[in-house]
């Protein structure tokens, strides 16, 4: 008891010393030993009372009480291992889910970027292109504003990186010279590039490596600084390594290399845009000067924007700027992300609330057994506040234990989540490792949960009528009014129904989505992707390489068909073109329809398994010397050319672009997401429209891994240094397109299982409580001849009624939420009576299952025992 100033024993000893001294003095005055002793005691008065007084003046008394209550609470919990286990489990799940959700929200929304004074950073957006700014505009903003202490621009880029472990196509940032200085970070090794390092276009071949890249590709070599590495086959000098926790300014994107913006032409070959005011390719982050508000900064930017709009009406007319938070690509991802996070938090909160409700009813049900204990405590002088505190301490202890388990669960799950890589060719990664904020959150949630679910039973206990209880009178079932407990059970059943139903609908939707008509047959197709531009190929060399590669894979064993294209449908690399029918070359911007666009080789449709409905496929004769031809889909013919027979019709590809003649029609397919409505698509000949990004496709009867291995060998023979990416079966490469639906189904199923667990404990708690309260009544009923069925009706009637109401509410909720669900998961429709009926059956079974044990107890009531009771 280290917090006590002085022990009770010490005080008793002092009193004994006092009495001894007094007695000695009295003996000295002439009393006999016995007389002196007695007189001294009498003179001192009530020793016990003095000791008690001392005990109560102790200022740490409440702590002492807390310690005792906690000890008692723990003993009570240990005595009821079944209850403790169920309670801790539901709390651990409830709190664990909340802590996990919170660590996701924390990682994506709350945790500031690991840079200096992150609160001062703002992300610039405009009304024309959202998050992109043109580089000339950026320069004007940078040089003319009065509100930023620094304004930097950067861009996500693909690069080919030649390192010790071979060449790889990977991802990085182009960044202006002031990038690191505006962010205010220090390198882990070497130095960063600065404004002075910008020596005109192409004049600063420097690179900064990310910590992860330095470790993985260069083995953490401390002498890397000053060495030359090859990016896109050009030499770059490594200046330094970024700190370990810094992954750029996008929380989900982990680049490997930062290169100066001035190297744009080398990094993005064939696409110089630094001097082009019409290309809105740069992302811009500014650091506000101290004391400048975001609204003042916006006003200043808009003054400059108005000037730009006047001076460059072709590009900037009506340009307006606004500011958002950096980290999630401004509002593009940030907006929906914040909304989804909020929805998930709300759902997790609901789960915890139901867990608390369960525990409240379980503790109250147990309280019925403890009524005598409490009545005795009250009658020997415990205050009601003291009794309430005792019960609250117990529930908080329980919540603390559950919270600790839940936090551990969240730790494990978030580690898994952090290690997860999206199945795509893009370095998406989150760091959701719980930090102190998550710990604090879990702690606070546990404490609040403990108080919330302890409050009702504590209040109930404090209202105990000690006389009635000690005399053995049952207070009887007064619960004809609607109790909070009943409302909670209805809520629980409704939530459970909704979650289980939604996950069912989502799963059935997913099942159906494998039968979606994609407009091509991904099974049996294997792909490799490569970028000839990054690898430094000229157009001539690139064209011949494409043919050689196709030749090589065509002769592999088992290959029935092969082709190449710039990209495949449903991959992240989706391009669109504005299309103008031949007779309407001057459509207004609002009337132009954009079509998905692909540059493909002959046999592309055969290889992919897309049906040709009319006309012909491309041939090797459709080359640079012959007229431009195109294949379109049905939606293109109907929506853009307004005809069922588009063969021979012509259109412009892009404003003022080349005139294309339609030579073939293919079936409609899915291009961006598997759940989109039919949209126009055009296919043009790669021979006529060269593209450096290539996907080589083969259809083969051999197993996929064999085909892929053969393709790697064939490609390595042609150019051993060419990095391949997106290698695998086409259905694997398309995994991303189906990810939102799968993620939604997984999340819903998890929540559904949680909801089932909680509903089971909830209903169990309710029925147990009902039986415990009515043991005497049941005894009387049985004594006067009630059959088991009649007893069950008494005990379960109310529960059945509550469950009916809950299911009805859940059904309404499911139908209402069905719309949202169907946007996430293809084919998930709430109008699925079979699925809903299934859910209803599950809930009824759950109800039966969870009331089984208490109902059996009710049937087995022995009237003699019940009536003699105590």
């Amino acid at each position: 008891m280290f917090w006590r100033r002085r022990k009770n024993e010490d005080f008793s000893e002092e009193i004994q010393a006092h009495i001894a001294l007094e007695a000695e003095r009295l003996r000295a005055e002439g009393f006999s030993a016995a007389e002196a002793d007695a007189a001294a005691r009498k003179r001192f008065g009530n020793v016990l009372s003095a000791e008690e007084q001392f005990y109560e003046t102790n200022r740490w008394l409440w702590l002492e009480h807390l310690r005792r209550d906690m000890g008692y609470g723990l003993r009570v919990l240990l005595r009821n291992p079944g209850f403790t286990f169920v309670a801790m489990l539901s709390l651990a799940l409830g709190i664990g889910v909340n802590a996990l959700m919170f660590s996701v929200v924390n990682a994506l929304v709350l945790r500031p970027l690991p840079v200096e004074k992150p609160g001062e950073l703002v992300f610039l957006e405009n009304n024309h292109f959202g998050i992109g700014q043109s580089f000339p505009n950026y320069r004007d903003f940078r040089d003319q504003n009065q509100v930023f202490s620094g304004l930097m621009a950067y861009r996500v880029v693909q690069i080919e990186l030649d390192s010790r472990v071979g060449t790889a196509r990977t991802w990085g940032y182009l960044a202006t010279g002031n990038y690191f200085d505006v962010l205010g970070i220090q390198p882990a090794l070497g130095r960063f590039f600065h404004k002075e390092d910008e020596r005109g276009e192409g004049g600063s071949p420097y690179a900064v490596l990310s910590y992860g890249s330095w470790q993985a590709r260069y083995g953490g070599d401390r002498d890397i600084v000053g060495k030359t590495i090859r990016i896109n086959r050009h030499p770059y000098t490594v200046l330094g390594v970024a700190p370990r926790n810094f992954h750029g300014t996008e929380v989900f994107y982990w680049p490997e290399v930062w290169a100066p913006m001035m190297m744009e032409a080398q990094i993005e070959p064939g696409n110089p845009w630094l001097e082009n005011r019409g290309t809105f390719n740069a992302w811009v982050i500014g650091r506000l000067k101290p004391g400048v508000s975001p609204s003042a900064a916006t006003a200043n930017l808009n003054t400059i924007a108005a000037e730009l709009s006047r001076r460059y009406p072709d590009f900037d007319e009506g340009l307006q700027m606004h500011l958002t938070r950096p980290g999630l690509m401004g509002d593009v991802i940030g907006g929906p992300m914040r909304a989804v996070s909020f929805a998930l938090m709300l759902m997790a909160g609901l789960v915890l609330l139901t867990a608390c409700a369960n525990l409240a009813s379980m503790v109250t049900a147990r309280g019925a057994d403890r009524e005598r204990e409490i009545a005795i405590r009250l009658s020997i002088g415990a205050t009601r506040w003291r009794v309430m505190r005792q019960i609250l301490t117990e529930t908080v202890v329980l919540a603390g234990l559950g919270g600790a388990a839940g936090y551990g669960l969240a730790q494990v799950l978030s580690k898994l989540l952090s290690a997860w890589h999206a199945p795509m060719d893009f370095p998406i990664q989150f760091d959701v490792t719980p930090d102190w904020r998550v710990f604090l959150f879990a702690f606070a949630v546990s404490l609040v949960a403990g108080i919330v679910f302890g409050l009702a039973p504590a209040r109930h206990a404090a209202k105990t009528d000690m006389n009635a209880v000690i005399k053995g009178e049952q207070l009887g079932w007064r619960g004809r009014r609607i109790a909070l407990r009943d409302v909670l059970v209805v809520l629980q059943v409704a939530v459970c129904f909704t979650l289980v139903a939604s996950s069912q609908l989502a799963l059935r939707g997913l099942q159906r989505s494998t039968d979606i008509h994609l407009g091509f047959q991904p099974q049996g197709v294997s792909v490799v992707q490569f970028d000839l531009g990054l690898a430094g190929y000229t157009e001539e060399r690139g064209r011949s390489f494409q043919k050689q590669a196709l030749e090589a894979v065509q002769h592999m064993p088992g290959v029935t068909s092969a082709a190449y294209s710039n990209s495949v449908p449903l991959s992240i690399d989706e391009n669109q073109n504005s299309v103008y029918p031949e007779d309407q070359p001057n459509l207004k911007a609002s009337e132009v329809i954009a079509a998905a666009t692909y540059e493909v080789s002959p046999n592309f449709f055969t290889t992919l398994g897309t049906r040709m409905l009319a006309g012909r496929d491309f041939s090797w004769h459709d080359d640079r010397k012959s007229p431009d031809v195109a294949v379109v889909n049905v939606a293109f013919a109907k929506q853009i050319l307004h005809t069922d027979n588009p063969l021979g019709k012509r259109f412009h590809r892009g404003p003022g672009g080349p005139l294309m003649e339609v030579v073939g029609v293919v079936e409609d397919g899915k291009y961006e997401t598997p759940i989109e409505a039919p949209r126009p698509a055009e296919f043009v000949a790669m021979e006529q429209h060269y593209n450096t990004t290539n996907t080589l496709l083969v259809r083969s009867s051999l197993p996929q891994n064999e085909v892929v291995a053969n393709m790697r060998v064939a490609m390595a023979k042609l150019d051993p240094d060419l990095p391949l990416f997106g290698v695998g079966g086409l259905d694997q490469v398309l995994g991303l397109a189906f990810m939102p639906g799968r993620a939604a189904a997984i999340a819903l199923s998890t929540f559904g299982i949680l909801a089932i667990l909680l509903a089971v404990t909830g209903i169990h708690g309710l029925v147990s409580y009902a039986v415990a309260r009515r043991i005497r009544e049941i005894g009387i009923r049985v004594a006067v001849g009630a059959t088991p069925a009649q007893v069950l009706r008494v005990v379960l009637g109310r529960t059945a009624w509550l469950m009916t109401v809950g299911c009805a509410a859940g059904l309404v909720l499911t139908l209402a939420l069905g719309k949202i669900l169907s946007t996430l998961v293809y084919g998930a429709s709430p109008r699925d009576p079979l699925a809903l009926l299934g859910v209803l059956t599950v809930i009824i079974l759950l109800g039966l299952f969870s009331s089984w044990a208490p109902a059996r107890r009710a049937i087995r009531v022995d009237p003699v025992m019940a009536l003699r009771h105590e």
């Binding site: 100033r5 002092e14 010393a17 001294l21 007094e22 000695e24 005055e29 002439g30 001192f44 003046t57």
Partner: protein
């Protein structure tokens, strides 16, 4: 020695016990029983120290830091807890003594007004 008629003694006013304890300790460290005896003796047996309030008072003064305590041995070789005045306790004693004197004088003036007028 005759039995004392304890009913005739004056019960201590609230708050005055603290002052008397501090005053008693001015002469040196003393244990609880000694303090109680000293107060009784110095007041010519007029003041009765109730032990039920003596120890809580000592406890209180110790908590305030005006006295400190340590186990020691009494003159007749008994183990006892000895209390000692601290520096801030001495200051407190001066303050309280002044206050008490002013209070006593004021009460005296109210009870016998003619004297203060004359």
């Amino acid at each position: 020695m005759a039995t004392r008629d304890e009913n005739n003694r004056i019960a201590l006013l609230q708050g005055t016990l603290d002052l008397l304890i501090l005053r008693t300790l001015l002469f040196g460290p003393q244990h609880g029983q000694g303090i109680s005896r000293a107060i009784q003796a110095q007041s010519d047996d007029e003041l009765l120290v109730d032990h039920g309030s003596l120890y809580p008072a000592l406890q209180r003064l110790e908590a305030q830091g005006w006295i400190s305590a340590a186990w020691g041995v009494s003159e007749n070789n008994r183990k006892a807890r000895f209390y000692q005045l601290t520096k801030s306790g001495k200051q407190q004693l001066t303050r309280e003594t002044n206050q008490w004197k002013r209070l006593a004088a004021a009460i005296g003036r109210v009870l016998e007004p003619q004297k203060s007028e004359g």
